[in-house]
Amino acid sequence: MIISIASGKGGTGKTTIATNLAISVDTPVQILDCDVEEPNAHLFLRPQMEETRTFTTPVPEVDMEKCTLCGKCGEICQFRAIVVIGETVLPFVEMCHSCGGCMEVCPEKAITETTRELGFVQSGRLNGVEFVHGKLRVGEAMSPPLIKAVRAYARPELLTIIDAPPGTSCPVISAMKGVDFVLLVTEPTPFGLHDLKLAVGAVRILDIPCGLVINRSDMGDEGVLDYAKAENIPVLMEIPFDRKIAEAYSRGDMIVTAMPEMKEKFVQLYHDIAAIAGRSLS
């Protein structure tokens, strides 16, 4: 089973829920941190990293000996990533989406592919939990290919927990598409509610069952609860604000370490999710 932890709004507690869930469950588990712009799960789990792989994407390289400056490559490229200027062809590789169109269209076979580094994928483990995250190179705009590379580590025999990035656009979709369940973490404030509605919209486009965790559940108003009820979205966990949790988090400590009594709640959360996702527990 694959569970994606998402939120719409940032800073609502996705990583907290993902990491505490991962170390609490009574089943073989892996965590894939797909917030490749700002991955944080490793700061709490502190896994022993075993492997680092550079992640690259193919980009064009032009052999000017063969090029006749016909301009077809610039014509097919939708991203203005390759243009003929005067007597030369300039690939703007930061803009390239790696579709291969220019290479395919070139009548002289003057274009081949080289690679460009987008970031890296690192994997390791801690206490039996498998850990994978991706880190986007700073200055790099394109996160979805790297997110997909992290997701490629998913193993069907394990429970896979994905820590998704905030928002509702392409990076989030890459972290949610095709999963069995999306757990939405929100806070009961107007910002939390507004962004939750967007996240629910995305989950519904993808047609995935979802449930809600309300974090800092006593700091705000009733809006989120009313919305969940009206939309028939199950509230699976509520965590009241507790300065002890906030301070533990600030130091990089896990909730279940600072407050061991919480572990049972995370186990229950997993069982509730599994029941909704319609899979029997192994």
Binding site: G8, K9, G10, G11, T12, T15, E37, E38, N40, L43, F44, I76, Q78, F79, H97, S98, C99, G100, G101, E104, V105, L136, V138, G139, E140, A141, M142, S143, P165, P166, G167, T168, S169, C170, P171, I173, K177, T189, P190, F191, H194, D195, L198, G201, A202, I205, L206, M219, G220, D221, R243, A246, E247, Y249, S250, R251, G252
Partner: protein, 287 residues
């Protein structure tokens, strides 16, 4: 005209609450919400929309099955596995590269332009505002960010206003890059946590990469003063100027629930005083 962009790396550190405070405190400004993916500033600003425009960007392939001979070339060329065995296009996977459309021997593929959001010019109780809404699951956030900042700049120049205050998105990827290029400065709002520090380090590196001067304020400072100080020390070493601290104060949440800025909600409060100091320091550093 000077543009200050508020960013954070990590989400939920208080960018929009700080921008809202600045909206109350700054005299001559345009507001801009560049977090087009999960825009929240309008919830406090309550904009009255004066202009509404479609945002058209990017294309999606559409196969006309009447003309398709199922030769399979498009499926072979598509690097996104966006075309099914039955020659349906998965609009979410489709990257909009147009390779299938270009090469289809039967010309059976259309490639229409997408409308993927809206942008607005509005009036608020604090002055003019440029903002936008990217459709759910849509691409091209970077283009929309660039567009909306451009509109904010035009507004400021047209009306002779001194500042453009831009609420940026979280992260360090495409929309953030589009938010900070060419800005006068960025203000990084960090929180004193291990993840807040990690993310602040990456976003300050991004600002340096694009050569945009950066300032720092640590929100919820008293939650972990030691971590707060360590973030400030890191910042100073990277030429990012610490210009203030904000205490953890539930008034920020209460103000948000009331649809008010912290200044409107409790002008006598400590949080308001701290926000005022930060805004004064922003102005001083923009000069």
């Amino acid at each position: 005209m000077k543009e200050i962009v508020i960013i954070s790396g990590k989400g939920g550190t208080g960018k929009t609450s700080i921008v809202s405070a600045f909206a109350s405190l700054a005299e001559s400004k345009v507001l801009c919400d560049a977090d087009v993916d999960a825009a929240d500033l309008h919830l406090i600003m309550a904009p009255e929309i004066k202009e509404r425009h479609n945002f058209d960007a990017g294309h999606t392939a559409k196969i006309n099955l009447d003309q398709c001979t199922q030769c399979g070339l498009c499926r072979e060329l598509c690097r996104w596995d966006a075309i099914s065995e039955n020659y349906g296009v998965d609009g979410i996977e489709c990257e909009g590269c147009g390779v299938c459309w270009y090469f289809c021997p039967e010309k059976a593929i259309e490639f229409p332009l997408n409308t993927c959001g809206e942008w607005y010019i509005s009036h608020t109780r604090f002055g003019p505002m440029a903002h936008a809404r990217l459709g759910i699951a849509e691409e091209n956030s970077g283009k929309l960010v660039a567009l909306i900042r451009g509109k904010g700049k035009e507004l400021a120049e047209e009306k002779g206003l001194e500042y453009l205050i831009t609420d940026g998105p979280p992260g360090v990827g495409c929309p953030v890059i589009a938010s900070i290029g060419g800005a006068s400065a960025v203000l990084i709002v960090a929180e004193p946590t291990v993840s807040g520090k990690h993310d602040m380090e990456r976003v300050s590196e991004l600002a340096a990469f694009f050569k945009v001067p950066a300032m720092l304020c640590v929100n919820k400072f008293d939650l972990n003063p030691e971590m707060g100080k360590s973030i400030e020390t890191f910042a100073e070493g990277k030429n990012v100027k610490p210009i203030g601290r904000v205490s953890f104060d539930p008034d920020f949440t209460r103000a948000m629930v009331a649809g008010q800025t912290i200044v409107e909600f409790n002008e006598q409060g400590e949080a308001c005083r701290e926000a005022r100091t930060i805004w004064e320091n922003v102005i001083a550093n923009l000069k």
